[in-house]
Amino acid sequence: MFPEIIDTRPLRKSIDEGLNWVVTNWSQTFEAIAHPLLVLLNLIQGLLLATPWWLIIAILCAIAWQATRSWKFPLLVAGAMFFLGLMDLWEDSMITMALMIAATLTTIVIAIPVGVFMSRSTRVRQILTPLLDLMQTLPSFVYLIPAVMIFGPGKIPALIATIVYAAPPLVRLTDLGLRSVDPAVMEASRAFGTNPSQRLFGVQIPLALPTILAGVNQTIMMALAMVVIASMIGAGGLGYQVLQGIGRLEVSRGLFAGLGIVVLAIVFDRTTQAFGKQLQAKIGITEART
């Protein structure tokens, strides 16, 4: 056994007490700060649940057609959504979708600016990279528990945990995309007297968009991967069905809900990927590589 050189108990005790102090004194403030997230989530969820099922299928099929310009993928989307409806999973699917969309939107708003910031300074990058590694590898329960203690069980900690887990790939890919814009194009833009924001919005972001979109795709996938864990702290939806299936040893319930998550993942993954390909073709990156 490794010899006990220092006593870690006081350290652990002080961390625990510190958290308790934060919970008693600050939890209301934190809740107030996170309230807009809850409003956003409830808004999306309300909207999805209020929309008739056939309209949602029609909208998703239209988006799928926009992305691929062929009838095959919309057909697949329609089939997938019918599966959810027939299996009596429609409401849970909408709740899960709402959580996913809210988490993805919030992540985009936070992660893209962070990625931009990171691409501009090697220093910021050095600091953020280990932090992102930590966010991705730290078991989610470790930060889930303090989040529940601060915000109380419910949708907010579920959303925050999802964002923490889903943000790193988008930050990384935004950074990568912006850094790998052809330096010759950047120089030309500089030579015409552009200022930094003209270069960012006029050159860098448009050219990095396929990479950024790949990051959004990853974010969506990771958000869906979190739904089961999120449902443990009150997010509801398909994850809750899986959890109940496990709890009651009802294999079928867990299986169908699990398949439902897979179906949603396929629909959103394919759609965003198709949009990414479309963008790449438009910019001409695919041609340049061959």
Binding site: D182, A184, V185, E187, A188, S189, R190, A191, F192, G193, T194, N195, Q198, G202, V203, P206, L207, K282, I283, G284, I285, E287, A288
Partner: protein, 355 residues
Amino acid sequence: MNAITDKNTMADSAPANAIEMRGLTKIFGNDPQSALALLESGRSKTDVQAETGHVIGLNNVSLDVARSQIFVVMGLSGSGKSTLIRHVNRLIDPTAGEIIVDGVDVLKMSLEELRAFRRTKVAMVFQKFGLLPHRSVIDNVAYGLEVRGVGRKQRLETAEKWIETVGLKGYENSRIRQLSGGQQQRVGLARALSLDTDIILMDEAFSALDPLIRAGMQDELITLQKTLHKTILFITHDFDEALKIGDRIAVLKDGALVQEGKPEDIVLRPANEHIEEFVAQVNKARAIHVRSIMEKGDHEPCEQSVDMDARCEDVLPLFAEQQWVGVMDRDGRQVGRVTAKQVIKALARHTPGVP
């Protein structure tokens, strides 16, 4: 460096030259100032590079570029020519020296002034084109005007005109990737021309193109220049290209200026072995203007004659029929004449093995 002496007289009346560079030195590395101090204390470039680990891109280069001419900077890769041209619009900041463009010290400009300067005074054409792949041809050509803040309608009109001038009519809405290399560089050229700046920087603009396309672009540039009279600073590693388009040529080697002068000066009086090597490879008939070897004076009119700007290669075919060929000035008066013998003598003068 002695070649600039013949222009010293103009140095006082500042804006006579479009671009002036004085003692331009650029050292790449972590601590360029200490390397500069070593260099200025008289140590050789190789010594300083070996000792400090810094790379000396430019070493005390002084150049004057007069208005309305094509000034070519020629050098092999690593000679510092691309570094040099990037100093004119300060894409690179020098370690020492000064750059005066249109009488204004570029190095004293604030960031905001520098941007305004880049938007209005100098346009640039790049070896790798540097076009925006997510925009159409016309939006690429209009890019500089857009950055300058010109309204959409007006900038598209201007872009349209220049697209037509460079021969890309009908491609306005094409994507960049749909064009060939030559067409892409036409877009690059139109983008620079549409800004209507007095000065255009061309960094190996034609080097990435196929030989035939390159020759075509050179001809077009010469034709355009006849009506535009821009000051063009043109970088190339191709001596033939330099001779063909250059009004004046400067040769760089290892970051230092070796010789500067008219194309004939360099072909007929190369400053050192390095330049002689270039000259030996080159088509001298293209480099030497007939006016520099003709018999001047009022001779009886010849049956056939050429223009003042004609070069030896232009008159050679005429000697098949003629003893003498006249040389005319721009008003069509005969100012001199040449014989085949004179042309052959000029061409043979510096050929190795011929006395």
